[in-house]
Symmetry: C2
Subunit: 211 residues, 2 copies
């Protein structure tokens, strides 16, 4: 059995990943509790990355490690990586504000890596027409053929994820870093319900979905 | 005052626009009732395009005309166009299965056309990372910079919309046809809640949003 660990990321600058969204109530629990529990279904250990201001809370989820995030999404992933034991062979990265990712998504991503991919990202096919816009003027209709919208969880070979973060890049997308060094990244079927909680509308939708 | 008409499209082959979704209950009414009522807020007349099998129903919404759709999205739009009076100067096209488009979206799209654009589409900025995938292998991360996901309503100068449909093209996107002849198309702010009802999950989400 390969050793799998998960990094659940709620840290960061607060612009996209900070803020109190991870602590909002959802279906009788908190957003972060859903995310951590799903990660645990596929991982031997979970590292939770939180804004430094959250570290003093008395109601932290039960995880193997809680660490303070950095000033960017990438820095927060690296803070999590530093707390993942060297024995881990596969590392899954997940957004704390995606509470509706089922354990099956984690398993599918991990299995794709065990099957030979350097990285595996949960994603859903794009169904909307896309326009490239300059100001408000449409300059191009972009083919959605073969386009997938990326979610988390995302699983990686541990050595590859550590390698691409060695230079401390600033990227919102770990898989993109792995692609950039020519390693093989695959998509696995995500779930349209696996939304990211970014505003109160998302939370209302999530509440409807967990009922 | 410019004369504005709306075409609400539920016809088509059944693959993307047919099926019974327009008749599903939502917040005490039916999906199509929401769509027609919103269109009416910005239009002097509404043409409803339905699958031919729906035309015998006794509970059709109160609109100026009900016509049978064609074998494709484009053919259905053309069936609607044929029922729009020549006096119409602006024509708004809207999916019957987008019940949560507010009247303000229709107004914004119409106003952009009155302001000089040939077409105006409601859209929201892409927030997801996009990957171009071949099989399941990621071949490219697509920049989401300047990318917008298109919704309906979409408003057009009537003469332009009629012109691009004269050759009976088969396109899922009317605005793309207008762009292709070099006319000016703009985006106006859509609404993330303006989802398209394509499966039971969407309907559950919509139900949560109308509450």
């Amino acid at each position: 059995m390969a050793v799998v660990w998960a990094i659940v990321v709620a840290g960061g600058s607060g612009e996209r990943f900070g803020g109190p969204k991870q602590w909002m109530p959802l279906g009788g629990r908190r957003v972060v509790d859903w995310s951590v529990d799903a990660a645990r279904k596929a991982a031997a250990g979970v590292v939770l990355v939180l804004p430094v201001s959250d570290l003093g809370r008395g109601d932290l989820p039960d995880v193997e490690a809680v660490v303070a995030g950095g000033g960017s999404r990438s820095a927060s992933v690296r803070a999590g990586l530093a707390a993942v034991p060297n024995a881990a062979e596969v590392i899954v990265v997940h957004d704390a504000v995606r509470p509706l990712a089922g354990g099956d998504l984690f398993t599918a991503a991990v299995e794709a890596v065990l099957g030979g991919a350097a990285g595996a990202v949960c994603a859903v096919p794009m169904t909307d027409t896309l326009k490239r816009v300059d100001g408000m003027h449409v300059v191009e209709t972009v083919s959605r053929e073969g386009l997938w919208a990326v979610q988390t969880p995302q699983a990686f070979r541990a050595d590859v994820l550590r390698a691409v973060h060695a230079d401390e890049p600033d990227a919102t997308d770990d898989a993109g870093l792995v692609e950039a060094i020519g390693e093989w990244v695959v998509v696995v079927a995500g779930d349209r319900r696996n939304l990211k909680i970014t505003d109160p509308v998302d939370l209302a939708v999530a509440e409807a979905l967990v009922r």
